[in-house]
């Protein structure tokens, strides 16, 4: 349990794993003892300096942290407003923020004596990061991935296989991230004795949302320090894309109690928020229970889960981490939507102006930045989490631009 300080937004979840009314532990009884065991093990690890030292070692020497903070000068000039900084999570080993969490969880799995790893993946970034740490720690690895995502993220599927993981395409439902998570949970139920489930986003049953957030907080902690060094102050705005929301909560958490820092999460509005094809759970969904937690969900009037849509496989999920649902309800974070087309534009703009090909996920955050920066004065600072690189997306983008690779 955290020390629960009522005047801090950083002390959640409570003892029941809740952020306000969100979060919790809505899982079948077979999994319940494991979830409790994981919580106990995580509390012990968190309090153990040796665990932190081991984590730091791998983050520094294997992941390559700290990641750079980049003043995006050409983009700032082009937009003609606020001064823009990128937190360069795409420079991490495996090309995204996902590895921060995977290193943390696999060290936890080792501590718990687990001998087999499973994970779900959407865009494949979390799958690649999980397969990578499994190779490093010599543990067998099974990755569940929606069959549609297997098709649109082929390079990452091949990477996972090269790293020695077994990739299982999931064809139930919409055959995307939600369905991959269902099958990963089914695998876990059937293999509780030896298997550790490395969840990739800050969602799922307690303690996952807390644990994943804690492992991702290094993003915001470093960026805060780096920005203090560069500018001597906090940012005015921090922006990140949200699918499940791990890169966003990793960036935001350190700033939650800093009232001067405006926080903006960017949801995938797909073909438009008012069409049926988007993944904007906070803007267009309502609270419900899925994948072990109470959170905002895209659902119909009967409580059946709707299929999400986004050009970005990593944002294509009908739910969101419970802490974001709570931050949305208390209005600490603004959540906006960016369409597929706007993200594609931003993807190209960032590539040409900064020489950085961003993942389609963070192209959503960049697209909102493009709208926001010109409205702010040159004395304002915007911090954007460039959470992943876009190499995996070039086939999708080429297709949308009518180019064959």
């Amino acid at each position: 349990m955290n020390d629960h300080t009522p005047n801090s937004l950083r002390s959640w979840p409570d003892a029941r794993g809740r952020f306000g009314e969100f979060g919790g532990r809505y899982v079948a009884e077979t999994l319940m003892p494991l979830i409790l065991e994981l919580e106990t093990a995580y509390r012990a690890a968190k309090a153990d300096p040796a665990f932190q030292a081991e984590l730091d070692y791998y983050l520094k020497h294997y992941v390559g942290r700290p990641s750079a903070l980049w003043h995006a000068q050409r983009l700032s000039e082009h937009l003609g407003g606020a001064k823009i900084y990128f937190k360069r999570e795409e420079l991490n080993h495996t090309g995204a923020h996902k590895i921060n969490n995977c290193i943390g969880q696999i060290l936890l799995a080792k501590r718990m004596g687990k001998t087999r790893i499973i994970a779900e993946t959407g865009a494949g970034q979390h799958g690649v990061a999980t397969a990578t740490v499994c190779a490093l720690f010599n543990l067998p690895c099974t990755i569940y991935m929606g069959a549609v995502d297997v098709e649109r993220q082929k390079p990452n599927v091949f990477r996972m296989k090269l790293l020695g993981a077994e990739v299982i395409p999931v064809s139930s439902g919409a055959a995307t991230l939600k369905d991959a998570m269902n099958d990963a949970l089914r695998d876990w139920v059937a293999n509780v004795h030896d298997t550790f489930y490395i969840i990739g986003t800050a969602a799922g049953p307690h303690p996952y949302p807390e644990l994943v957030r804690d492992f991702q907080c290094i993003i915001g902690n470093e960026a805060r320090e780096q920005l203090m060094e560069a500018e001597g102050r906090l940012p005015d705005v921090a922006i990140a894309a949200v699918g499940g929301g791990s890169n966003a909560i990793g960036l935001f958490h350190t700033f939650l109690d800093e009232a001067s820092v405006r926080l903006i999460g960017v949801e995938a509005a797909g073909k438009g928020m008012h069409t049926s094809e988007h993944a904007a759970s906070l803007n267009m969904g309502r609270p419900g229970v899925l994948h072990g937690n109470r959170t905002y969900l895209l659902q119909d009037d009967d409580g059946q889960i709707l299929e999400a849509h986004s050009i970005s496989a990593g944002l294509d999920y009908p739910g969101i981490g419970p802490e974001h649902s709570w931050l949305h309800d208390i209005k600490r974070v603004e959540y906006v939507g960016i369409t597929d087309d706007e993200a594609l534009e931003a993807f190209q703009l960032c590539s040409r102006l900064e020489g950085i090909i961003p993942a389609l996920e963070c192209a959503h955050a960049i697209a909102h930045l493009v709208k926001l920066a010109p409205t702010l004065g040159k004395d304002k600072l915007i911090l954007l989490n460039l959470s992943g690189r876009g190499d995996k997306d070039i086939f999708t983008v080429a297709k949308h631009l009518g180019t064959m690779i």
């Binding site: 532990r25 809505y26 077979t30 003892p33 439902g173 089914r186 409580g303």
Partner: protein, 266 residues
């Protein structure tokens, strides 16, 4: 006495165990479900479990997942499922009905309204797969107020300390998930049951039903030799797909004979 408790008390007098077959509502349509409910009740089902279709049934194997999808395609809603129960109850007042499903559709319906409407329609108990005791305060007060039994799942992973917590607030019967896994996959052996059932028996007076992976009359007989009821689901859905509703009723009759062949001390 609740309808479920009444059935188990009568069976204890008779000295035999119960058969609980499963119907996924609206698979493949409403009419078939109603026909199966009536047919099962007339051919040896002591209690019937009705699956409420959900898009994301995380504890279910491929067979029940597919059945749920067919049910949703046929237009299943919770309102529709309660309507089905209501219609069944016009002809049958004695066979207990237990609804099995996931929490989100119930939340969307409204927990209080759902418990009231379910009770009015003639539902006797609820199995909510993703509602562990830790979160049960969401449903328990309304279920209790409306006389609905809350049937809890107990898994092989449920340790003795936890067992007490799971049993607290349980009523009707307890549902022993005899394997670690999803529905319709592996089957627990007689040795597994001989080891596991006494552990639960020691912790509760409630009847114990065993499900997940019970497929044949012989397996059902093995189950009731140790426990109080056998729950059979996936194999009946497979029969419905491959053959016909009549074939399902035929199999229920055979399963009931398997169960009745085992005589238990009164």
């Amino acid at each position: 006495m609740s309808r479920i408790a009444g059935v188990f008390a009568a069976l204890r007098q008779e000295g035999r165990g119960a058969l609980i077959p499963f119907v996924e509502a609206y698979d493949p349509d409403r009419e078939t479900s109603l026909m199966l409910l009536n047919g099962m009740a007339e051919n040896g089902a002591d209690i019937i479990e009705i699956g409420m279709p959900f898009t994301d049934p995380m504890a279910d194997g491929p067979t029940i997942q597919a059945a749920g999808r067919r049910g949703l395609l046929a237009g299943a809603t919770l309102k529709g499922v309660l309507g089905l129960v209501h219609e069944f109850r016009r002809q049958n007042r004695h066979t207990p009905l237990v609804l099995m499903g996931y929490l989100n559709p119930i939340c969307a319906y409204g927990v209080k309204a759902f418990c009231e409407d379910a009770s009015a329609a003639g539902v006797d108990g609820l199995i909510i797969v993703d509602l562990p005791p830790e979160e049960a305060d969401l449903v328990l007060p309304d279920a209790n107020a409306n006389g609905l039994d809350i049937i809890r799942l107990i898994a092989p992973t449920t340790c003795d300390v936890r067992l007490k917590q799971v049993l607290e607030g349980s009523s009707g019967f307890v549902y022993y998930v005899s394997i670690t896994g999803i529905t319709g996959t592996r089957t627990a052996s007689a040795a597994d049951l001989a080891r596991d059932i006494p552990r639960i028996r020691a912790a509760t007076d409630l009847p114990i039903a065993v499900g997940f992976g019970v497929r044949t009359p012989d397996q059902a007989a093995t189950v009731v030799a140790h426990a109080d009821a056998a729950i059979v689901a996936s194999v009946l859905i497979e029969t419905l797909c491959k053959e016909s509703p009549e074939a399902v009723i035929r199999d229920v009759r055979a399963l009931a004979e398997g169960v009745k062949a085992v005589s238990k001390a009164a």
